[in-house]
């Protein structure tokens, strides 16, 4: 999946941390960031955030060229990927 989301993020100490995001008219607070990793697609650098909100794990990406945030996956507790 790949859906556009709106994100509030904090830029501090050379890091970017999403604080909450809106997806399909619902606001989700970011309770914990489990992993951040970077991938490339051409000259685009994609920052992937694996984060937790409630009982769900979400993966958001931030594209440094388009400055777009996308939701690319979510996982429920007790389900396989």
């Amino acid at each position: 999946m790949e859906e556009s989301v709106s994100v509030e993020a904090v830029f501090s100490c050379g890091r970017m941390q999403p604080r909450r995001f809106r997806w399909r008219q619902t606001v989700f607070p970011v309770e914990q960031i489990y992993l951040v990793h970077v991938s490339r697609r051409g000259r685009d650098r994609l920052y992937h955030f694996s984060l937790g909100s409630g009982r769900m794990i979400y993966e958001l990406t931030f594209n440094n060229q388009s400055l777009a945030w996308r939701l690319v996956g979510f996982y429920e507790a007790d389900s396989s990927c």
Binding site: Y34, L35, S39, R40, G42, G52, E76, S80, C81
Partner: protein, 411 residues
């Protein structure tokens, strides 16, 4: 005294997935190449304790670990974690060698003193890994006077443990290490030695040369004895000193057999294009072109050696496809691989003489620039249309290491 540290990230692929998704922690996780694949390429500690091993088929796994959770591999994720681990290691030594996607060597001969000694330095690396990359990640560390012993010690250390090889425990390590933990003794050599009843290093030392020589040849007799004594004077090879690649390759296993000639042709062209793109990024060209195919339990490989060096995907494809056609392959194709070897640096070669060749070179350079901006295979040959585009990926063995390390980490 020389001090070499070997760090091995524990159950790397699965641990990264468990780091990213806490609901996978504590559960048996098996990493598969992608959905539809039927073989596990990596497993979590929990899965390994249930008997899951790398290379097991899903059918086999059902009997040993029916609750295994399958996760498709995300190689860019793993490779980025590796990159960050390397960066972390560079805080502890300027001499860091990337041995594989989850193993590094550090020469800490001169730096251990700044961290309170080798053991404290190792502990510091383990703590920094958890603090800066992920608390669920861990690494086992071996420290010794050379790479061979450091890797052996790391392999026999407990998960997230540290093993320091000293004069007192070196003999015990050499006596107990299974061949699976000895760098330089692979599966085939182990089998040959097992035929003689040799399963441990002291037995190699005790075996007369005349007994070993017919089995392994004169070169390997000396090598095995050296390994058995724990001797290794090889240096670390940091990234900046990696030698030029000796070959580049790309292979791919289809999801099912195919006899569709257009699909086979597209597959071979795709693989050739990737090999060529790797060559161009490395600034190299090759003149030995090879192809391997497998299907319906038959396999064949061959190569042609030309006088002219090339880094052109179409030229590589034309030659290897002609070779493939000459086999009159009667079976379906499930797997194909293309490689280019006998490489040289492009700037050692003379420039193309003829206008048509120069135009082609300019066109290829233009395509490379487009793909560099919009992603690999944004522009690709028409023969690959209607087929699944196979994109470059980092694999767990860091195949084409020079390409993976020199070009992929331009972040």
């Amino acid at each position: 005294m020389r001090l070499i540290l070997h760090a091995d990230l524990n159950s790397f692929f699965a641990s990264v997935e468990q780091q990213a998704n806490p609901y996978l922690r504590g559960k048996p996780v098996g990493i598969i190449k992608s959905w539809g694949r039927t073989c596990v390429i990596a497993a979590s500690n929990e899965a390994k304790r249930s008997g899951v091993t790398t290379g097991m088929s899903l059918a086999e796994i059902r009997s040993v670990c029916p609750g295994l959770i399958l996760v498709p591999a995300d190689f860019p994720k793993y490779f980025d974690v590796t990159r960050r681990f390397i960066k972390l290691c560079r805080r502890y030594s300027d001499l860091v060698e990337v041995f594989s996607i989850d193993e590094v060597f550090l020469d800490i001969s001169r730096t251990a003193q700044f961290f309170g000694g080798p053991f404290n330095l190792a502990r510091s690396i383990q703590q920094a890994l958890k603090k800066t990359i992920g608390g669920y990640l861990g690494c086992s560390i071996g420290i010794a006077e050379n790479k061979l012993l450091a890797k052996m010690a790391g392999g026999t250390a407990p998960k997230q443990g540290i093993a320091l090889v000293t004069a007192k425990n070196k003999a015990a390590l050499l006596a107990s290490a299974p061949f699976t933990e000895v760098c330089g003794i692979g599966y085939r050599l182990s089998k040959k030695l097992a035929a003689l009843g040799i399963t441990r290093l002291p037995q190699i030392l005790a075996a007369p040369d005349e007994v070993l020589r017919p089995l392994v040849g004169p070169y390997w007799v000396k090598e095995l004895k050296r390994i058995a004594r724990g001797e290794d004077n090889s240096s670390l090879v940091p990234l900046a000193f990696l030698p030029d690649a000796k070959s580049v390759s790309r292979s791919y296993t289809l999801f099912k057999d195919t006899r569709d000639q257009a699909a086979i042709r597209g597959l071979i062209r795709n693989l050739g294009e990737e090999a060529a793109a790797k060559l161009r990024q490395l600034g190299q060209a090759g003149r030995q072109l090879g192809i391997a195919v497998r299907g319906e339990h038959y396999s064949r490989a061959g190569y042609i050696t030309g006088k002219i060096f090339t880094d052109d995907g179409r030229e590589i494809f034309d030659r290897v496809y002609r070779l493939f056609r000459s086999w009159h392959w009667p079976y379906a194709v499930r797997f194909a691989g293309v490689w280019v070897s006998l490489l040289t640096r492009k700037n050692y070669l003379s420039r193309p003489l003829f206008p048509a060749e120069r135009r082609r070179e300019q066109m290829i350079a233009a395509v490379d620039r487009i793909n560099a901006v919009y992603g690999e295979h944004s522009v690709y040959p028409a023969v690959m249309l209607n087929g699944r585009i196979i994109r470059p990926e980092v694999n767990g063995y860091l195949g084409d290491k020079q390409y993976a390390l020199k070009t992929s980490w331009r972040l």
